[in-house]
């Protein structure tokens, strides 16, 4: 585990099928980190700022990583990313873009805005599960995490 004690992954995903599949892939891969889910960009921002219903950090702790879809209602993934990178401390939060798009426009834009990684969701579940496993190993176990709060 890491020195901050933060273990939560914030998943920003509007497609509930995908949320379920991701959770399944996590459990299949025996990833025990708690997953906080928000369905749109606005909620993601609110969660990170601790606004409104997300004010209670015990119930809604700061994540150590953000899994961000790009095509989101209200506030797109790129906009969330842009906002995040403008915050004084939160900007250090590692962000992994997880989306269906393989378009160069989306990829380039995401990296320009400061995404730490860009992953395309595979259709084949086995591959999806494998990807999540690798994600967990790399970001949760191998990488050191910055202070953000």
């Amino acid at each position: 585990m890491n020195r901050n004690g933060r273990t939560t992954i914030l998943l920003v995903e509007d497609d509930l099928n995908d949320v379920m599949l991701i959770k399944r892939a996590f459990s299949k891969s025996r990833i025990v980190n708690p997953i906080a889910c928000v369905e749109n960009g606005e909620d993601a921002v609110a969660y990170l700022r601790g606004d409104g219903k997300y004010a209670d950090r015990r119930q809604h702790p700061l994540p150590f990583m953000l899994l961000l879809d790009l095509k989101l209602p209200r506030l797109s993934g790129h906009e969330v990313l842009q906002w995040l990178r403008g915050q004084p401390l939160l900007k250090r939060l590692p962000v992994v873009v997880l989306t269906s798009s393989r378009e160069p426009v989306d990829i380039n834009r995401a990296y320009e805005l400061g995404a730490n990684s860009y992953l395309v969701k595979p259709v084949v579940f086995e591959e999806f599960a494998a990807l999540m496993r690798q994600l967990q190993v790399y970001w949760l176990m191998l990488s050191e995490h910055p202070d953000i709060g």
């Binding site: 099928n17 399944r24 798009s101 393989r102 378009e103 259709v123 579940f125 999806f128």
Partner: protein, 879 residues
């Protein structure tokens, strides 16, 4: 003479001709007859000298001028000064014998008469001094030598002449003895005083005077008596002088005889014996007789000699005259011949005085050419036959002309004829001397025809040049207005008109008239007239006919169709004559007209018409071209506009397609992922509760979802090629292939494929990602499409060739039938079932589209065993 004056001292022993003075007597009669003041003055001086000599002789007496008496060798010698002698020597030396002889004779005559000498003796006695003068005459007339006394020889001659003249003069001493009874000794001493006296007087008084004044006297003679021919030598005068001597001798003998007679009578008066008296008488008579015979003989000889010699001389003269006459006739004939050359010469010729320019002579050819009568011509100067504007130049030429040059080409001149017309003349001038006067002989060649031909040729050349220039300009004209303006300008220039107008109303449409005007500066005040030709009135003539219209000023004014310019007449420049040609299309329709008016000089002629027609031809073609060009341009613009429109539409649809593709990518794959994920979840979580069919169905769902995902991904890849902006760069082919093989390593491993790579280090101009995709597709196809159980062998080969990189990927696969070779590049085109060779059928489509986007090419060669895909791309060049 001038130089003798400026340098009078004969320092140099070698005399120059200028210093020599030859004895040039002036005939007395002609000088006295000369009716001007010079003749008068000389005559007065001469008469004064005569008077002075007579006065001197009377006052001083023949023998009363004794000054010094010297005893020489026992002889009593008398020296004195006799003025007439010195004066007469000067006269004979400077003017001639008769000038000196007359005063010399008169002085002695009156002097002796005054001393009561008997007249007969005085008359004879007075001859001695004229005879002495004749000695000078003989010397200088005969010897023809310089008398200036500025050389030793001249002095010697003068001394000799003076000595002899003095001795001749001294004869007088003997005659005067008759008058005064003197003894023999007295006579001797008298004579001995006489001749040295005269001699010394000549040397000491006349010599220096001659030396000093002769040049001035000669100059004066030259200046004032040039018209009096100076007689250099006269045979008759010489003979006369000689006969005078002989006659004198005879006279002296007679005088001597008389003296003897006196003495005889004196002797006979003495008391003598009769015998002796008779003897003496006889002796005297014999002597008397001999003397008379001798005297008569001498006189006869003298007279006869004069007569015979005179005749002889006359005959000589006659012969000389006849010879002279023959020569003169010959000269006259030759002159006539030469005159014929002048008079009958067909080339105009004249002679003029180069100082005044006055004509001196002219030949009929010139009179004919210039239209003057002979008298009219000769009363003019050469300035009268030149136009006034050339006079200045002519005078300058005159001043600079080198008269010493005998023959020169005086250039080409314009000459005026009597009727005022001009001739172009080539003039040759010959300078010469005639009667001591300089004369210029002129030959004139009328080069007007040559000049006219030359001018015409130049004009023609100029016209052709203008036409050629017009053709070029018209060919380059971009707009109808330009064509019309150029045509108008050139038309005005070609026809030398003050006004030219071009107008065009297009085909069969009089509504829209385009027109342009060209004006000379003279017409500048009409520059802003804006009266379009309306195709009525006189314009109808041009517009309704296909042929040109040419009218003179008068013809135009009286033409029934010419009605001026109506209400515009104030604003319209006047039409002075008209030359108009139509502008036509290729098929003969009249579309406009080219008009010129008011020729600068004269009326329009056929030449102008032809030129204008040629110009109109060019202008018509040009006009038509411009119109066609306009149409073409409009058409092209329309096309471009449409292309732009379509492109825009296409862009929009492309963007829609992008959006669609994006949706496909994102939205279609999400449910697919759900299908696959949950089907998989059922299989895993509830598999134990399903039977075999359930398993089978779910497995099919999972596979179908996977296939569909592949399909969507390939489609996206295909659509991305070309849609995504491709940055072309230098891609190192060998490196790229290395990467691709590394990526394909699992496949290669699985298939046990043999890959042979022969790719040098080449740079291709390509989009790296796309090229990678292309080669990847080709190589993976090569590995994939191999008959089952066969080991894939793939050869990758590349080389550079003339700016291209050619690459070949060949395999030992199943090959492609000839009829399918084009189809394989189509989207979703598959030749084999998915079971045998799985795939979406998009790989080669991506290859083709990608290469096309990178300006590359691909073709396929295939046989029974294996295919070769050959692709080529531009070689990368550093720029």
């Amino acid at each position: 003479m001038q130089s003798a004056d400026s340098n009078p001292a004969p320092a140099h022993p070698a005399q120059t001709d200028a210093q020599r003075l030859f004895w040039r007597p002036l005939p007395l009669a002609s000088v006295l007859g000369q009716s001007d003041y010079a003749g008068f003055i000389v005559a007065v001086i001469w008469f004064a000298i005569n008077a002075a000599c007579i006065w001197w002789a009377i006052v001083n007496g023949s023998f009363s001028w004794n000054l010094w008496r010297v005893d020489l060798f026992g002889t009593h010698v008398v020296f004195g000064f006799y003025l007439p002698w010195s004066l007469c020597v000067l006269l004979v030396m400077w003017f001639g014998l008769e000038w000196a002889a007359v005063p010399a004779y008169l002085a002695t005559l009156f002097g002796t008469l005054h001393t009561s000498m008997p007249v007969d003796l005085a008359v004879v006695n007075a001859l001695h001094n004229p005879l002495a003068m004749a000695v000078y005459f003989l010397f200088y007339c005969g010897l023809r030598h310089d008398y200036s006394l500025r050389s030793r020889k001249s002095w010697l001659i003068f001394i000799a002449a003076s000595l002899l003249a003095s001795i001749v003069s001294s004869i007088g001493a003997f005659i005067s003895e008759f008058n005064v009874a003197v003894s023999g000794a007295e006579l001797w001493s008298n004579w001995m005083g006489w001749w040295p006296n005269a001699f010394l007087q000549s040397l000491l008084i006349d010599g220096p005077l001659i030396y000093l004044f002769s040049p001035a006297i000669e100059r004066t003679k030259q200046r004032y008596f040039r018209r009096v021919p100076a007689e250099l030598f006269s045979m008759q005068k010489l003979l006369l002088a000689v006969s005078m001597f002989v006659l004198c001798l005879a006279l002296f003998i007679l005088v001597d005889d008389r003296w003897q007679d006196i003495r005889a009578h004196a002797i006979l008066a003495a008391p003598l014996s009769d015998d002796l008296r008779a003897q003496i008488q006889t002796q005297f008579n014999v002597q008397h007789f001999v003397v008379w015979v001798l005297a008569l003989l001498l006189a006869g000889t003298s007279l006869g000699g004069v007569i015979v010699a005179g005749r002889w001389v006359r005959r000589l003269h006659e012969r000389a005259d006849s010879e002279t006459r023959e020569v003169r006739d010959e000269i006259r004939r030759s002159e006539a011949r030469f005159r014929n050359f002048f008079e009958r010469n067909p080339v105009p010729m004249w002679a003029f005085d180069p100082d005044t320019g006055r004509f001196l002579e002219v030949n009929p050819a010139a009179l004919h050419a210039y239209g003057y009568s002979r008298d009219e011509f000769l009363s003019m100067t050469i300035f009268d036959i030149h136009p006034p504007e050339d006079i200045k130049h002519l005078k300058k030429k005159f001043k600079s002309a080198d008269a010493s040059e005998p023959f020169r080409h005086a250039g080409e001149w314009r000459h005026l004829r009597k009727d005022g017309s001009l001739i172009d003349a080539e003039v040759h001038v010959s300078s010469m001397k005639m009667d001591g006067r300089s004369v210029s002989l002129v030959l004139v060649h009328d080069i007007s025809p040559r000049k006219q031909a030359h001018t015409a040729m130049e004009k023609r050349t100029q016209e052709l040049r203008i036409l050629a220039a017009a053709s070029l300009e018209l060919a380059g004209a971009q707009t109808m207005e330009q064509v019309l303006q150029l045509a108008a300008d050139r038309a005005r220039q070609l026809t030398q008109a003050n006004l030219a107008v071009t107008h065009s109303w297009g085909q069969g449409n009089h509504g829209h008239i385009t027109w342009r005007v060209s004006l000379t500066p003279q017409y500048a005040h009409w520059a802003d007239f804006r009266v379009p030709p309306d195709g009525t009135g006189i314009y109808k003539l041009v517009t309704q006919k296909l042929h040109p219209v040419r009218l003179t000023r008068t013809e135009l004014q009286h033409h029934p169709q010419f009605h001026g310019f109506g209400k515009y007449s104030e604003k319209h420049p006047p039409l002075n004559g008209l030359l108009a040609v139509p502008l036509t299309t290729r098929d003969g329709a009249v579309t406009g007209a080219l008009m010129a008016s008011d020729k600068v000089d004269g009326e329009f002629d056929i030449q102008d018409e032809v030129l204008l027609m040629q110009l109109a031809q060019t202008a018509s073609v040009s006009l038509e071209n411009v119109q066609l060009n306009d149409a073409l341009l409009r058409h092209m613009q329309e096309l471009e506009r449409r292309v732009a429109e379509r492109t825009q539409e296409l862009d929009i649809s492309n963007r829609e397609l992008d959006a669609f593709a994006y949706s496909v990518a994102h939205d279609l794959r999400a449910p697919l992922r759900a299908m696959h994920g949950f089907a998989n979840a059922i299989l895993e979580d509830y598999g134990s509760r399903l039977d075999e069919d359930g398993h089978n169905y779910l497995t099919r769902i999972v596979n179908a979802a996977r296939n569909m995902d592949m399909l969507i991904q390939d489609l996206l890849a295909y659509s991305r090629v070309g849609r995504v902006h491709m940055v072309m760069e230098g891609v190192r082919l060998d490196e790229l292939i290395g990467e691709i093989l590394a990526e394909l390593a699992p496949d290669i491993e699985m298939r046990q494929a043999v890959i042979r790579v022969d790719v040098p280090s080449l740079l291709t101009q390509a989009h790296r990602g796309t090229l990678k995709q292309i080669i990847l597709n080709l190589v993976s196809n090569a590995i994939k499409f191999v008959a089952p159980g066969k080991r894939p062998e793939v050869n990758i080969h590349a080389r550079a060739c003339e700016g291209w990189v050619e690459m070949a990927v060949s395999d030992n696969g199943i090959g492609i039938a000839a009829e399918h070779r084009e189809r394989i590049f189509n989207v979703f085109e598959r030749l084999h079932g998915a079971e045998a060779y799985p795939g979406t059928g998009i790989g080669l489509s991506i290859v083709k589209k990608g290469l096309a986007c990178m300006h590359g090419e691909i073709r396929v060669e295939s046989g029974e065993t294996g295919s070769t895909f050959r692709l080529r791309l531009k070689e990368f060049r550093h720029e």
